[in-house]
Every structure is written in C-alpha cells, then in structure tokens.
Symmetry: C2
Subunit: 344 residues, 2 copies
Amino acid sequence: MAQLTIKDIAKICNVGVSTVSRAINNEPGISDKTKERIMQVVQEFNYIPNNSARNLKMVESNTIALIVTGIDNVFFQSMFGEFEVELRKHGFDYLLHAVSWQEDVVTVATELMKEKRLKGMILLGGQMERPEERLDALGIPYVLCTVAHSSEHPLPNCPWVGIDDELEGYNAVSYLINKGHRDIALVAGQRYDNAVSAQRLAGYRRALAEHGIPYREELVHFTDPQMTDFSPENGYVGAKELIASGVSFTAMFCMSDLITLGAYKALDEAGVRVPKDCSVIGFDGIELSKYMCPGLTTMYQPRVDMVKSSVELLMKEVGADNGPVHKIYEATLIERDSVITREE
Amino acid sequence: MAQLTIKDIAKICNVGVSTVSRAINNEPGISDKTKERIMQVVQEFNYIPNNSARNLKMVESNTIALIVTGIDNVFFQSMFGEFEVELRKHGFDYLLHAVSWQEDVVTVATELMKEKRLKGMILLGGQMERPEERLDALGIPYVLCTVAHSSEHPLPNCPWVGIDDELEGYNAVSYLINKGHRDIALVAGQRYDNAVSAQRLAGYRRALAEHGIPYREELVHFTDPQMTDFSPENGYVGAKELIASGVSFTAMFCMSDLITLGAYKALDEAGVRVPKDCSVIGFDGIELSKYMCPGLTTMYQPRVDMVKSSVELLMKEVGADNGPVHKIYEATLIERDSVITREE
DNA sequence: CTGAAAGCGCTAACAA
DNA sequence: TTGTTAGCGCTTTCAG
C-alpha cells in the first residue's frame, strides 16, 4: 500500500492541502461541509498523517514526555499510569519513552525534545550528577523524579522529587531498634553503589551509631555484582548467606520489598519464622508487600503524591518561570505483621 | 539555547551541509580529515540531529518497534529486555512504544510506522479480532506476540506467537485432577472476558468434563468488573469470597501467578494451609512464583523462547517473504510445593 | 572528495 | 472560506 499523503487527499477532494490540514486538525476557518467531505475521504482511505513531517513543521507540540531509566523497575512501573492520568488531566499529551542502559539519558532527552518539540519532560529513575548543568541548556521545563544522586552531591539545583534515602533508611532501622532489636541484618544492593543503596546504608549506620550499637560488617550482605540488585534473587541469596554464615540477628532490614520476598523464602527454608524468630522490614511499599505472609512492614514511598507533585512542579515551569524547587517526600512506615517487639 | 541545525555546523566548518551529513552518518566519500574536523565541532557544540527531519527524508530506517498494549502487565514487562537483546543481536534498532487503553493499536502502529519508517514491528499484548485484515494493509512485516483473540476466531491468519490458553488451562486442571482433586475452585478474571480468561475457563471446564466431574458455578469466582483482573487483589478477594461462601474445595486454579499471591494471603488468613488443606496452581511462571511460600506450582509460559521465536519469525519476513507461520508454545508445568496429592 | 539543490509531508503565513 | 507557497532540518542525487 503506497502511503497516502495529504496531497493525495487534497487531490481526491479537489481542495488545497491547507484545507485538508485544517480539517484534520480541527482548525477554524473551514466550512462544515467541506470539512465533513474531507473527513469522509480521510476515513475511507484510512489516511493517517505523518508525524515526522508534522513535528518538523510545528513550532511546539503539546506533549510532555516521561523518560524512564529502568523500565523494568516495578516501583517505576507502578507510576506510569498515574503519570498519564495526571498529565492528561492538565491537558497534555503523554509520551512514555524508555532509555536503554547503554544510552545516555540527556542525549536521549535532547533527541526526543528536538524530534517531538516537547513542551516539557519528566525524567524518572536513573542516576545523575549535577543534572542541571546539561539539562538547563536544553531550554525546556523538566522535573527529576526519583533520580538518584551520589552522596557527595546531596541535591541537584533543579526541580527534583523523591525521598531522602539516608533519612528513610535511618527511620526504618530506628524503628527496629525501638522495637528492641540490636542485631539487625541488612540485605543491600551492590557494594560499590554510591547512590540509593549507599544512602540507605548510611541511614542504617547512623541509626545504629545513634543508639550506640556497633556496625558489624558480618551483618551486612551486598549483592553479587552480576546479580540484579533489589531483586527477589538478591534477597534470597542475601538472606541465605547471612543465615549460613552463622551470625545471629533478630531483625532484618531489606532495601526493597522485592528483596524481602526472596528473604522470606530463605528464612522459611531455614525454618526461621517471621516475625517470631526474625523481624523483617522492607522498603517501597509496592502492592506486593500487602500480600506477603505475614504482611510486610515497610517504608512506603508515596508514589501517587510523588507523581502529582512532579507534574505540579512541571506545570509551574510550563506556565511561568519560577525558581527551582525541591520536593522531598517522607516515606511512611506501614506497620503490618513482619516485625515484633523483642523481649529481653 | 537556540537549536543548532546541520546548517549551522556546516557554516562553522566552512563546508556544505551534505558533507556534515556524511560525517555524522559515517558515510563513505569523505576524507578522514574533514570528517574529524566536523565531528570535533559537533562534539563541541553538542549538536544532535533532528530525528523528525531525518525520518521524513529517509526511505527506510533500521528500526523495529515493540508495540505494547498493557505496559503494566508484569508478564510482558519481563520480556522487554529480552526483546531488546534479541533485536539488537540481529542488528536492528529497538524502540519500545506503549499503547494507552484509549488508543487503537493499529492506528498507533500505523502512525509509528510512517513516522519512523519502521522496518518491522512486534505487537505485544492486547486483543485483536482478525488482525490480519488491517495489519496486512500496512505493508510491513509484523508478528503478534501474546495477542489475545476471542474463542470464535481461534487463530489469526498471520504470524503469531503465544500459547494455547484453552489447552494449558486444561493441562493445569488435569494435573490437579490427576493428583486426586475433584473439588477445584477457580479464580478467574472478568466474567465477560472473551479472550484469555474465557479460554482458560474453557480449559477448566473441559478438564472437569473429561473426568466426569460436573461444573459447579459456586466454585468459580469472577473478578469485579472495576477491579484489575489477574492482580493480587483479584486473587485475594476471589479466594476470600470463595472461602466465605462455605463451598468446600481441596484445590484451586488461579489464572495468573499474581492471583495466587492474593489467594495465598486469603487462604493464610482463613487458616487454610497450602498445600495441606488446599492445593494451589498458578499460571505464567513469573519470577515471583519461585519465591512464594510454599513455592508455587504453576504453568510456565516460556517467555524467553517466545521472544526469540517472535524475532525469528519477523526476521524471516524481513528477509524474504515466507508464508504466515504460527508458533504455539506449550506451557511447562513447574512442580513446586503448593500442590499435594489428595488421599481418599 | 565536496557542494548545490531538490524534495520528504506537513503547517502556517499570505493571497485571493 | 479557500488555495498557493514557503519552508521545518535533513538526506540524497547530481554536478563539479
């Protein structure tokens, strides 16, 4: 099937191309009769305009892109739908674009911006150092959502939405300590990670330190470099090895809910009962956590609020030019049944 | 930042635009010296070409798109990475494009094809009746992967990869029956679904019938229309209601692993032990199923093979024109610990 | 090896 | 209300 162009439609209808363009785009300055006739032909021949030509010509679109680094991350996945709803609510077109591991986010973002004449964009996931340096140069509004940064550069100087991983790691562990636990195992991500995992680890250490509990290397498990971190396997192997090592602990902090899933399994296989023999606390509060047995006590990241607030920040930028803003959410502790108070 | 164009680069380098184009695209017919000089400027000014212009001009690209209906489906999500690897292995560029619920897949596919001059596409997920009628008209190679069809039109007359849901539903239930179970509850998706859920249901009924077990409405739970089907909530509510109804059963077939997750929870809360008091079998074999306690016995859909084979089918089409082919995979029964033989 | 020029299919002035 | 036309930024002949 030879691709129909606007010219063909114009010819068939015996009108000029601009008239067809007006009809398709619902623009004023065209009689209802002509419009109807054209649309009929468009339908009949199943004409679909070429977006490349359109984008090329248009000065600006009405599209906001959600650029995702880590499309397989379940936490991010749970936000896609929310973003779409929220963005459409504000009258924008929504475009989800996945960034591969081998690609550079900023390059991808730039390409997409030029290609689609984006009105703005939201970067979800990944890690960036001093993102503002390259991103500001693009000259379009953007917001970072849950984009990690290294511990050295605490917060980028640009719109950013997320949680304070160090603080929430601290909160999770403090909670366990307040429940009477002192021997707290940690199932972490990669050892040489310098972002999320490092910060939650820092929170773990600070909580211990503040309660006068020494940090013990043997209670901490880092995942194998070639294993996907924050995954069930990560948790299974981690808990398994901790148990096998013979070190004793009464509670366990897992850096993600998916990790707890694997950890539950390892614990179960070892005959360690949760929470009786070992309390477990997770992180993220994904849907899954509610259905684990026993129900998982976890640090809930308010994903819906985070989405809403990302969009709101972007709206402000798209409207007028406000100064850069941060929005640091608090994770909420959801108490379920995986942690119990330890009796002396 | 005013957007740099190829003209600007040409001007800066004192060359023609075509020379710049040659440099960027690694084309022959340009001296290494000129090329190097141009690339230096490109780097320095951080020039990134406009893809819309490129796509508009180019006759064909090297891109194959994965068009996904149901981006939040965990089973599909587990295939994204595989598709990318496989497609790149064959030397193609990979593009993941999500279709919203409100959009029509074929329209989206057509737009994308025109916009990106796609070499081919793989449609993942969703449901289509007689897809070949509209898709063949596009004139580019395509493969359907795990695209549902209604029971009336068993198989589209086009390249299609997936499993036979009726058969595998039958296999799952037969397995339970062979294990001595006769009172088998079913936690299904929507009642008026006429695709996946309907077919697995048909398999359930056939298995019962072949073993002379009457179909009992009270053992079957359909999800509430406004609830996400195949979800943990679907399973939790389903199992909960089945238990509350007082009907007795010794085994349960859940139409997805995610459903079993919720069902486990409901069973646990009711004090029903798996598999001692009730055996459970799932469907899909997603990673999660391995980590449930007890390990979930489930019908494993060979997702990696399905991806490979989808790509292979597409490759054949892209190369020469072969006739349409089907590839129906068998789900594999993974036996873990959620089912036991029922003693009389 | 390089540059000028002709479009790709569309939108948006500008005329009519 | 319509049609004509000039590009959007790029690739690709075709001359030089």
